[in-house]
Symmetry: C2
Subunit: 246 residues, 2 copies
């Protein structure tokens, strides 16, 4: 047996998330079904992490054991064309037998896209969160650096999470405004992210932009270690897992 790592993209709109579950169509199930058909035996995959229903990926990483060595492009092409159209297989490479896409991930980058145009674009309804209220973008820009560094992010973690250590290090937190001024692109890079963390960070930043949370409140929100201290969880359709580094 050999082990392959693959970089995949998916449109999360019609998935109940990445990870297999009892009900609902998942990315993991679709890929395992395709791999098992190609290999003519059961193939299971690891992913770098779960993504929720409606959340997208530009660079999710998976790995799987495989019976024989194959030309990489042949395997990539077979997997790309045989998975459904909402999954793309961008790259396949051979890795060490002990590679694990979740345990060995060193750095993850997420993007979050917000449609701030009026009216809401029909073309963005599954691909950006919509925010129709007033925004002072300068307030958001001034608040963003307060996320940088190593903190206990309990306040930015869903109460449903069972993870014990909620300390994470954020290397990058920024926002770009599109030339057309109707789209925000947030980028967050860190050593890992808690359940709903990026969505709660964005939900809080939008409240700051709207003036309903003070622009210097983030250090206090972090210090509170209480989910109720932060803003709401932004909608899943704006979130993209962009890149995982090893």
């Amino acid at each position: 047996m050999v082990r392959y790592k693959a970089i995949i993209a998916y449109d999360g709109t019609n998935f109940s998330g990445f990870q297999s579950q009892i009900n609902g169509r998942t990315v993991q199930d679709e890929i395992e079904k395709t791999l098992s058909k190609i290999a003519n035996q059961t193939v299971k995959i690891n992913g770098s992490g779960r993504t929720d229903a409606g959340v997208h990926a530009l660079g999710q990483v998976i790995d799987f054991a495989w019976p024989t060595k194959l030309p990489l492009e042949k395997l990539r092409f077979a997997l790309d064309t045989q998975t459904p159209a909402d999954i793309a297989v961008k790259q396949v490479e051979l890795v060490a037998d002990d590679f694990h896409s979740r345990y060995q991930a060193k750095e993850k980058t997420y993007e979050f896209r917000v449609d701030i145009g009026k009216p809401r674009s029909p073309f963005r309804r599954f691909y950006m969160s919509y925010y129709p209220y007033e925004l002072d973008l300068e307030k958001i820009k001034r608040a963003l650096p307060d996320f940088l560094g190593t903190h206990d992010f309990t306040s930015f973690c869903s109460g449903k999470s069972e993870v014990k250590n909620k300390t994470r290090t954020i290397y990058k937190a920024d926002m770009l405004v599109s030339d057309t001024e109707d789209e925000l692109l947030f980028t967050f890079c860190g050593d890992g992210f808690l359940y709903n963390m990026v969505r709660i960070m964005v939900g809080t930043l939008l409240k700051i932009g709207n003036g309903r949370i003070s622009e210097d409140a983030i250090p206090q929100i972090i210090a509170a270690r209480d989910r109720n201290a932060a803003g709401p969880t932004a909608h899943p359709e704006g979130l993209y897992l962009k890149e995982v580094k090893y």
Copy 2:
């Protein structure tokens, strides 16, 4: 009664086209249903032209008679928020009683988007046509100006069309390549377009780029006045009605 003109955008993916038909969900039906509910009486609309199933609009124009004068933004907002999420109402204005969005249209602009990346992007599958074959973009650029001017475009019209006069004038025909080099954006502007005309023009241009039709063949194809002389009809998901001028 007064008459309103509205500029609308729609994601054509889940529509059987613009125009009402016996079966299938249409843009016209959805808008007439909403307008009739708001007015509490039957309201019918005219459109600047039909779009096929899967074809999108950034600036389709409609007009309708209405019982009373209303503040424009109030009417726009009511219509925008009460139509389904795949229709957006961008602008509403009061027009002369004899305004007709189809008969008085002077100029139309269409865009056609092609995904030429590898692998095909899951995010573009409903919003761009996909072309995975080799393309010499310079050949396409050299061929495009041959569409300009006044011609009988019978060769670029679906055989199903019942229109008699197939002479149209094309003012603009060009192509932009995205910075990422994985996307083509064609723009065509003219006094009117025949049934499937833009899609057949693009289907022919892609064959020219791929070397299977000569780059100087367009004048002969036009002169043939025969649909079989041109290339295939490109897929509907790449086509956008961008603007209609009066």
